[in-house]
C-alpha cells in the first residue's frame, strides 16, 4: 500500500498536475481546464501525497460530525491503491467516522469504490459538468468507525 505523507511546498507541482477537482477517484492528470487545487493550509483541509504518484485530499473536515470529503487523484499510478491508503489515514490517524466522495453516476471507478467499502448514498442531478453537459453524480460514503 502506498505511504501517504503530509503536503510540503515542494509538492505544489504534483498537486497542480494531478488534481482534477473534488472527485473520489481521478487519474490521468489535470487537463487545461481543471479547477484550481485545494488550499493545503488551514484546519478544514488535509492534503496528503505520495511523491511523484498522487494526492489524497480530505476537505470539509468536521471533527464534531467526524466526516470529511475525500478526493484522490493520481497521474498514472493505480488510484484505488491510493484510495485504500487514504481510508486508513482518515480512520486511524484523523479518527474520522466516515468519509464521502463524489463520482459521476455510472463512472467506471464505482466498482473499485464499492470493493473498498463505499456505499452509494445519493445521486444528485446535474452535479458534474462534463463535456459540455451537466451530468448526475453519486455521493459515495465509507464508514470507518461505528462508535
Amino acid at each position: 500500500m502506498p505511504e501517504l505523507r503530509g503536503y510540503r511546498t515542494r509538492d505544489a507541482g504534483l498537486l497542480a498536475t494531478a488534481w482534477q477537482g473534488p472527485l473520489l477517484m481521478a487519474t490521468g492528470g489535470a487537463g487545461p481546464f481543471a479547477p484550481p487545487p485545494p488550499e493545503p493550509d488551514g484546519h478544514w483541509c488535509r492534503v496528503l501525497v505520495v511523491p511523484d504518484a498522487g494526492v489524497a485530499v480530505l476537505d470539509r473536515i468536521d471533527h464534531v460530525h467526524r466526516t470529511a470529503r475525500l478526493s484522490v487523484a493520481t497521474l498514472d499510478a493505480p488510484v484505488v491503491d491510493l484510495l485504500a491508503a487514504a481510508l486508513v489515514v482518515a480512520g486511524e490517524r484523523l479518527r474520522l467516522r466516515q468519509v464521502i466522495g463524489v463520482l459521476p453516476t455510472g463512472d467506471e471507478q464505482q466498482t473499485a469504490a464499492a470493493a473498498l467499502g463505499f456505499v452509494a448514498e445519493v445521486t444528485i442531478p446535474e452535479h458534474v459538468w462534463r463535456d459540455g453537459n451537466a451530468v448526475p453524480a453519486t455521493i459515495w460514503r465509507a464508514g470507518l468507525d461505528d462508535t
Binding site: L23, R60, E126
Partner: protein, 151 residues
C-alpha cells in the same frame, strides 16, 4: 410584495447568526449553537459562500466546484411562517437563476428542524440521505438532501 434578497454586510451577518443561535437554527452546514461566529465566518470564506439577507434571516449559496451552474443553498429565517418561507425561498431561487446563472440547487440539511416542510412548496424535491453523517442531540443522524431546478 416581492421579498428582497440582498447581499449581507458583515455586521448584518453577525447579528443574524446571533439570532439563528437564539432560535437554535443551523445554517449552511454550521451549528450556530456550538460554532463561534469567527469559525462560521471562516467556513463561509473557505467554501466561498455568498450570503444574503432574507427577511430577518439568511440565505446562502455555496458554489459547486464540479458544475458552475449548480450550488448548495440554505435558508434560515427565525419565526417565519410557511407562507413567508415559500415567498422568500422562491425569490432566492429566482435570484440564483437571474443573477448567478444557476440552473439547479441542492440543499443539504444541516440539523433537523421544521424548515424541511417549506422546501417542497418552493420546488425542491427530496433526493436521498447521507446515513449517519450528522451528530445532533447525542447521536448520529441521517442527513437529508433536496434538489430543484431554478426555472
Amino acid at each position: 410584495m416581492t421579498p428582497e434578497i440582498v447581499p449581507c454586510t458583515t455586521a448584518q451577518l453577525r447579528r443574524r447568526l446571533e439570532l439563528l443561535t437564539d432560535h437554535r437554527m443551523a445554517f449552511l452546514g454550521r451549528d450556530t449553537r456550538t460554532d463561534p461566529v469567527a469559525m462560521i465566518e471562516d467556513w463561509f470564506r473557505y467554501v466561498r459562500a455568498r450570503l444574503f439577507t432574507a427577511g430577518d434571516g439568511l440565505f446562502g449559496v455555496v458554489p459547486n466546484e464540479l458544475n458552475p451552474h449548480q450550488a448548495e443553498i440554505d435558508i434560515a429565517v427565525p419565526g417565519a411562517s410557511a407562507a413567508e418561507y415559500t415567498a422568500l425561498l422562491g425569490a432566492a431561487i429566482r435570484l440564483c437563476r437571474t443573477h448567478l446563472d444557476l440552473h439547479s440547487v441542492v440543499r443539504i440539511e444541516p440539523n433537523r428542524d421544521g424548515r424541511a416542510a417549506h422546501l417542497e412548496p418552493a420546488g425542491l424535491r427530496p433526493i436521498g440521505v447521507l446515513h449517519g453523517c450528522r451528530f445532533q442531540d447525542g447521536d448520529y443522524h441521517d442527513q437529508r438532501l433536496w434538489w430543484g431546478q431554478t426555472a
